[in-house]
């Protein structure tokens, strides 16, 4: 029975691992930290898995656990080099749609998002993942109205970062 649960869990996580990688890429600055956070999220997901009833989609359930781990439970690893060698992963561009101005703008946007605080990042992340305000509010434990207001403030903040 336990073996089956393990297999089920690992298979589901393997299929949905992109969600976790995306959270890691937003909340960490280098590959070591990325792997560290990925591991911690995996442990937390596994610990909570027996309580996962399947009343929501596995991926929906993952967002909450992954973000909670990044915002609350994760303690940054000690061996953190100062350099940001990690950016290359989220900034990588595919050659066929290379548009210098747009690319430049996107690059700036990504680095602006990475400068936000933990909570703001979570809001932007869920927004980018196409979640509606009700879901965003639910995940963070705030009201929907406040989630909307906050999102507008973040947009203003991003605008200031982009056009100082």
């Amino acid at each position: 029975m336990n073996k089956e649960l393990e297999h089920q869990f690992v298979t589901e996580l393997e299929q949905n691992q992109n969600i976790v990688h995306k959270v890691c890429s937003l909340y960490t600055n280098n590959r070591d930290a990325h792997n560290d956070l990925f591991q911690e999220i995996t442990i937390q997901l596994w610990k909570a898995y027996p309580k996962f009833r399947g009343d929501s989609k596995f991926s929906t359930w993952m967002y909450r656990v992954a973000l909670n781990t990044a915002i609350t439970l994760y303690r940054k690893s000690k061996r953190k080099p100062a350099t940001q060698d990690y950016d290359s992963v989220i900034y990588k561009i595919s050659a066929e749609e290379y548009d210098p101005t747009q690319e430049q703008q996107l690059k700036l946007m990504y680095s602006a998002v990475k400068q936000l605080g933990d909570i703001d990042k979570a809001l932007v992340f869920l927004y980018l993942e196409n979640k509606n305000y009700a879901e965003i509010a639910e995940t963070l434990g705030i009201t929907e109205v406040n989630a909307r207001v906050k999102m507008n403030r973040i947009k203003t903040k991003l605008r200031t970062i982009l056009n100082p």
């Binding site: 869990f9 995996t42 937390q44 990588k92 605080g117 963070l140």
Partner: protein, 217 residues
């Protein structure tokens, strides 16, 4: 800006192809690793904090200082026994409370609820530590009162031979002063270490909690 964020959204969803990919085996290995989460740290540190006042009795100097022999001579033995009983009763209550709250922490709660529960668990330990600090001060106080009420403190402690040239009354007040000083320094030190640890551990949590509260304000 609206359009820019929409642009980012489109791009974000395209970027999935560039993300790292772990194999089934790699993920399988991970589920057996030990968590290094904040909650686990808080759990370990809290256990140490529960044990620390008791571990102090293992130090020879501390044990001698609080020895029943010394206390019996001062006539405060029954006071110390009563204090110990109270201390254990309260410690068990706190450990029970801590365990209950620790079990309530769930990664499935929403972010705000999760942080709140962690703080509540932590607060239980904080109250316990404050209680311990008060107890330490009380023990010192009992000794001080015992010493002050002792008419012949120097004789009680068999210090006659060593202190022939010193006025007994002066020596008595000096000893009480030293005891009071030691009590304050010791309590401050224990408290200082604890609150520093507490602050460092929950700094990020506090920051994010305030941020969430600000959104609600």
């Amino acid at each position: 800006m609206m359009d820019e964020l929409e642009l980012l959204k489109k791009d974000w969803q395209k970027r999935e192809v560039n993300l790292p990919r772990l194999s089934y085996e790699q993920i399988y290995q991970m589920i057996w690793k030990k968590s290094s989460s904040l909650v686990r740290w808080i759990f370990y540190i809290s256990i140490i904090e529960f044990l620390l006042p008791h571990l102090l009795y293992l130090l020879p100097s501390f044990r001698e200082g609080l020895s029943y022999d010394f206390a019996r001579k001062l006539g405060i033995n029954s006071w110390l026994i009563a204090l110990t009983v109270v201390q254990y009763a309260v410690a068990f209550f706190f450990i029970f409370q801590f365990y209950r709250r620790y079990r309530e922490i769930s990664v499935l709660d929403n972010a705000q609820q999760l942080i709140k529960r962690i703080f509540r668990t932590r607060r239980t330990v904080k109250h316990y530590v404050i209680f311990c600090l008060v107890m330490i001060l009380t023990v010192f106080l009992v000794f001080i009162v015992g010493m002050a009420l002792d008419e012949n403190l120097v004789t009680t402690l068999n210090l006659d031979a060593q202190s022939k040239d010193v006025d007994p009354a002066q020596l008595k007040w000096m000893m009480i002063g030293v005891m009071a000083g030691a009590g304050i320094v010791f309590t401050a030190l224990m408290g200082g270490i604890y609150f520093l640890l507490y602050g460092l551990l929950t700094r990020k949590l506090m920051h994010n909690y305030k941020e969430l509260k600000r959104i609600e304000a």
